[in-house]
Symmetry: C2
Subunit: 150 residues, 2 copies
DNA sequence: CCTCCATGGTTGCATAGGCCAACGACCTGT
DNA sequence: ACAGGTCGTTGGCCTATGCAACCATGGAGG
């Protein structure tokens, strides 16, 4: 496959995936939307972060994140902690309930993916995962988050 | 990387991509949303199909597709043609304007991706593309897509 | 031909997710 | 102290979607 075609294929297939993922998430866990799930996941992964970080990472408006956070807090899945040095900042953390639900949903999602990817060789799986990570971390991703530069 | 971790990474990274793609699409071509773009793309690729086919392929509700189609038609990008054997069916086709816009947007998207993927070896690109195709075409996707299959 | 049910699409209604702009609170450098 | 930037909230508004009800058409049985 020529690089140009590969590139086009990549964007198209990613899009198809994105579209289906949303619908599938709704069917799998009506309790936790794909958005909420990803936010919780990021919190777990990062071990607590600011709303602004979430916004930057997912290229969302801060107001959007603010509302999502409010909803998640109201649902008891996350909690806000003050930042020691900066009172403007709220450090978001998973609560026990949040961790539990996240784990449950992650498990069911993982099962679905695993089934879907059942006949893939382990090597292909890890290579695929690596490509995705590389893509998302790649040059240009800086354009989406505003000077959070690690 | 263990398969289970790879699987989890895949879903997470795909989601990040999906989220950013939407925002990026808005910046790149405000005239054609990501949804519209993908629908037009599918029409071009399939050489005309029914609204139901689009709904099935993207796991969207038929009402959603119906509205999108209405908007795209009003914008003059697609047209509905009667089906010879079945009057219920509208076969959707790109108009010249639709084809033109689709080509323009595809080109700008491709340029962005190309820049993003500039330093990837051609082999990795095609392998990445192949993985995505394989994933989307995998068992289970048959539920969504009726025999457009290669 | 008429009836019953399936299929393709549309429309009403409700919800979620997003963006932008304005604002209040708080930090920082001068 | 003041100016300018950052973090998060809110209000206003729009788009995308799903579900359910509904209309028109097509098909299979009587």
């Amino acid at each position: 496959m020529q690089p140009a075609d590969a590139v086009e294929t990549i964007q198209r297939e990613m899009t198809v995936f994105a579209r289906r993922a949303r619908a599938a998430a709704g069917r799998m866990h009506p309790e936790l939307s794909l958005v909420s799930y990803t936010l919780l996941g990021h919190l777990e992964e990062s071990g607590g972060c600011r709303a602004t970080d979430l916004a930057a990472h997912y290229a969302l408006d801060k107001s959007t994140v603010s509302r999502q956070v409010t909803a998640l807090e109201r649902a008891g899945l996350i909690e806000r902690r003050p930042h020691a040095q900066d009172q403007r900042v709220q450090v978001l953390h998973l609560t026990e309930a949040g961790r539990r639900i996240l784990a449950r949903v992650t498990e069911s999602r993982r099962a679905a993916f695993r089934e879907r990817l059942a006949d893939w060789p382990a090597e292909d799986l890890s290579r695929f995962a690596a490509y995705l990570v590389r893509y998302n971390a790649g040059p240009g991703s800086g354009r989406y988050d505003h000077g959070r530069g690690t």
